[in-house]
Subunit: 295 residues, 2 copies
């Protein structure tokens, strides 16, 4: 199957699963559900859950095992987007070409929908633990622990990013922001896939290195798109980082160096996967996709 | 031991445990940690963790088993207070006689500190699952599941409360708000204590009935204090509910009927505990304390 087809197929599977795991309780909180669904189903790339599934498939085929965790990580990702967009943080009006959650609903709803999505991820995890056979429990509990720690790092990364808005920032701190705000969840994806598939320690290390590199590449590409992307394709205004005085890879090192680093990281990431040969084809293409994407 | 002494002793134990389980990672996110600690250690009554421990002690003495869950529920409670106080929701300036989190720090920090506390609760739970013997795992996973569902109900209750601000509200909806916004966590406390102590189904039902009644009593008392409490003792302005046009038990039924209902609920709650005789003395006094408290 060609990469774009396979990516689309993955996205369809994920979208279908997300609908299943959404908050269902209705009356009188319909609007809360709608608000959570609005952001979760707004058409993201589903990069994180796809990374979980594709990592798992390097080793095993029964992807149902990791589906709840794949769904949970997408919920957490969307919770973070809703809260980051809030007037009190980035104050963004558009995402994926649609009004942000607080613009579509209101601020109170957006705060609580974000809270609800974060918590829903843990409802999904607790349900899957409850339905797990004894001999499989240990690895799922390990995944739950990794999950909660990665979310913590993501929140801390977002905090430091916000703290340094409009201030000069050292290379170390910029690195910290990238590694945590974006990197923590992306690394978690491969970690979850590998732990659930019971991969070797060597495989795990290799995959984490791949994920760290594409995580940083993803963030640098985000910074580049935020500087010179196409607003219509991106579905959000370009130049907001600059306006807010955000310190990004681009503002610190310039466009040329950022692009060079992006290409180098992508190459290094794909090299990590060579031992898996054709089995890793999709993950290799995924790294290239992150480098070349225009939204 | 007299009730007030025992309450104080419990509070000291909880405060000491909370410090242990706080987010520790430092540099460069010290302020995030400070903000989480600021609200968590601001001097709440610790009603929820105490309820977990006191319920557990009806049946067993080794309270260390439920300590992580007691800590986690207090973290969730404080996350909900930080977010409820935000300008986008209740816009409150004071809590426990101190500036609210977003007043002391800023809005972005308060949003992320709330997120961090909610997630920290799940870090604590995942760590305790990781360190649990196989034969004890089932009940702790059941507690994790109840925990995540109760937090969801709390968020939904807060959402409906916010939605109906300044609008007329039916008795059913007011009931829904009380049962979920405050009741869900209070019921969770006894549920966790009873499940962890492996109580009988009959005991569980009895304790849930007790918790539902003191939960509603707690909310009604809150509404009464918000109308006629002493600002200095309360540590927050009185009359905010009225100003916001919040529909409360008092605004809907009047002070006299609210007080009557409060007394009736307290009496019914304590009657549920009669079978436990002197063992339940503390929980009975706790119900009376909720009725009589002036903050």
């Amino acid at each position: 199957m060609d990469f774009k087809e396979e990516l689309k197929k993955y996205q369809e599977i994920i979208n279908c699963e997300l609908e299943k795991y959404l908050r269902k309780e209705q009356c009188p909180e319909e609007i809360l559900n709608q608000s959570m669904e609005y952001s979760l189903m707004a058409g993201g790339k589903r990069l994180r859950p796809i990374l979980v599934l594709a990592t798992y498939r390097l080793f095993r085929t029964d992807i149902e095992t990791c589906m709840p965790f794949a769904v949970a990580i997408e919920m957490v990702h969307n919770f973070s987007l809703i809260h980051d967009d809030l007037p009190g943080i980035d104050n963004d009006d558009f995402r994926h070409g649609k009004p942000t959650n607080h613009k579509q609903f209101n601020e109170a709803t957006a705060i609580l929908a974000g809270d609800g999505l974060l918590n829903q991820a843990y409802i999904v995890i607790s349900n899957t633990l409850q339905n797990t056979k004894k001999e499989e429990l240990n690895k799922k509990i390990a995944v739950f622990q990794e999950f909660s720690k990665a979310v913590d790092r993501m929140i801390a990364g977002e905090f430091v990013d916000t703290e340094f808005e409009g201030k000069p920032i050292s290379e170390d701190y910029l690195d910290y922001i990238h590694k945590n705000k974006t990197g923590a969840l992306l690394t978690l994806c491969v970690r979850m896939g590998a732990i659930l598939a019971e991969s070797s320690k060597e495989d795990l290390d290799r995959l984490i290195s791949y994920a760290e590199k594409i995580g940083l590449a993803f963030q640098i590409k985000d910074d580049i798109l935020s500087e010179e992307g196409n607003e219509e394709i991106l579905g959000k205004p370009v130049g907001n980082d600059k306006k807010l005085g955000k310190c990004t890879y681009v503002s610190k090192y310039g466009l040329a160096e950022a692009k060079e680093k992006l290409a180098r990281l992508t190459k290094e990431a794909t090299e990590e996967l060579k031992p898996y040969r054709e089995k890793a084809e999709f993950l290799i293409e995924l790294a290239n996709y992150i480098e070349k994407r225009n939204k």
